[in-house]
Symmetry: C2
């Protein structure tokens, strides 16, 4: 039984209705490209959620899609912990509050006031919380591609988070990545193996609003820069 | 002058032809979702490239799209080094060969033969090579979200690589991520600031073939596992 995969396969064939076409390379036309780039422009780090629950099985299906992401040596080191127990959610919230207080104290006074006004987490409202880990101890992939750069395991997990983010947005959901946490404490709070590296906490739910401008830009915290500035030639 | 951004904006409006609709949240229908999931299913880590050159400006435009990716605190720490000089390409190739030899020796004898047959890099044929770095020293974002997890800067860069990967595939290009390299040597080979962290080397070009199954799975190195195995509840 592979319910996630089956659901995904069923979904991915919608619109073609043709099983024989399954292994025919798709062509992506200009209209698809325009929509794909709209998706990238409208993907936001969501902090304000409605409290509505997701349909049963929705998050598991999205995780199944995220598992199509690239991984070093086909190691698939992503581990998704659905955080449901109130006591664990409370411990994560306390972890966030302690780290957020410290971060606030590190800011210049003139920016501290702005920082304090930013709502940095959707921990209270998002119906789904997923703690994502990288299994540094996995044997899958037999070490291919990661001998000199073991951190590529973590990078593989990040691509899965990004896939989940894009798929969620495309389906009308919002995702917020919370990183103001002490990563060393997360494995203990969630009782997972000690060789799992904490990558991030994801809040998922229906967004209160949609926007094509990052919340931090709207709030005046930072603005995006022109891409030419990040390209050099050698 | 923001040529990349302008090109992107122009592209992203194709299909709507309506400037007034620019800030209207897009709706993504079932047909788009099916195509998006096709894109995820057909994105491959490409190792065999045609030698054909890319159109002028194509890679810069794709990098501009990659810059729409999320970044911690809106820090945009991604740095793209287009590697063009033959002497630097040769130095990277030597770095790869030394690391690959060492990796081969680390494998079990029965897998070493298989490993040796895998063509692990597209370094010889791909017309474009991009070394991607994370600027750990950037002041942009004022440190927001990265006090306890400075590695989120690197994770931001990984999301940009993944965006570039998906956009390239959607436009008929292939991308291969090479990680069998000594990261400490890459900053020196490419003469970039020492506080830039090497994330990966990307080969980009037209793929020799398209496939919906990972090359490592086709070669019998590793297979993908069912997504249920990576989800736990707490």
């Amino acid at each position: 039984m592979e319910p996630f995969s089956q659901q995904f396969e069923q979904r991915s064939r919608e619109g073609t209705g043709d099983r024989a076409a399954e292994h025919t390379p798709p062509r992506f036309d200009a209209d698809f490209l325009a929509r794909l780039y709209d998706l990238l422009r409208w993907r936001r780090d969501v902090r304000r959620f409605k409290r509505d629950r997701l349909p049963d099985g929705a998050i598991e299906r999205l995780i199944g899609i995220a598992c199509l992401s690239p991984s070093v040596g086909l190691s698939e080191p992503w581990r998704f912990v659905l955080v449901e127990e109130p006591k664990r959610r409370a411990a994560i919230r306390a972890n966030f509050e302690a780290c957020n207080k410290e971060a606030l104290e590190m800011q210049d006074p003139d920016r501290a006031a702005l920082y304090a006004r930013l709502k940095l987490a959707g921990l209270d409202d998002a119906p789904v919380q997923i703690a994502v880990f990288s299994d540094r101890g996995t044997a899958q992939g037999s070490g291919l591609g990661r001998l000199t750069m073991p951190e590529t395991l973590d990078y593989s997990v990040v691509t899965a988070v990004h896939t989940l983010w894009l798929a969620a947005r495309a389906e009308g959901l919002g995702l917020g990545w919370v990183s103001i946490l002490d990563p060393a404490r997360m494995a203990g709070i969630l009782d997972v193996p000690q060789d799992w590296i904490f990558i991030g906490l994801l809040c998922v739910g229906y967004p209160q609003k949609e926007d094509d401008t990052p919340a931090l830009e709207r709030a005046g915290w930072e603005h995006r820069h022109a891409p030419e500035g990040v390209v050099i030639r050698r």
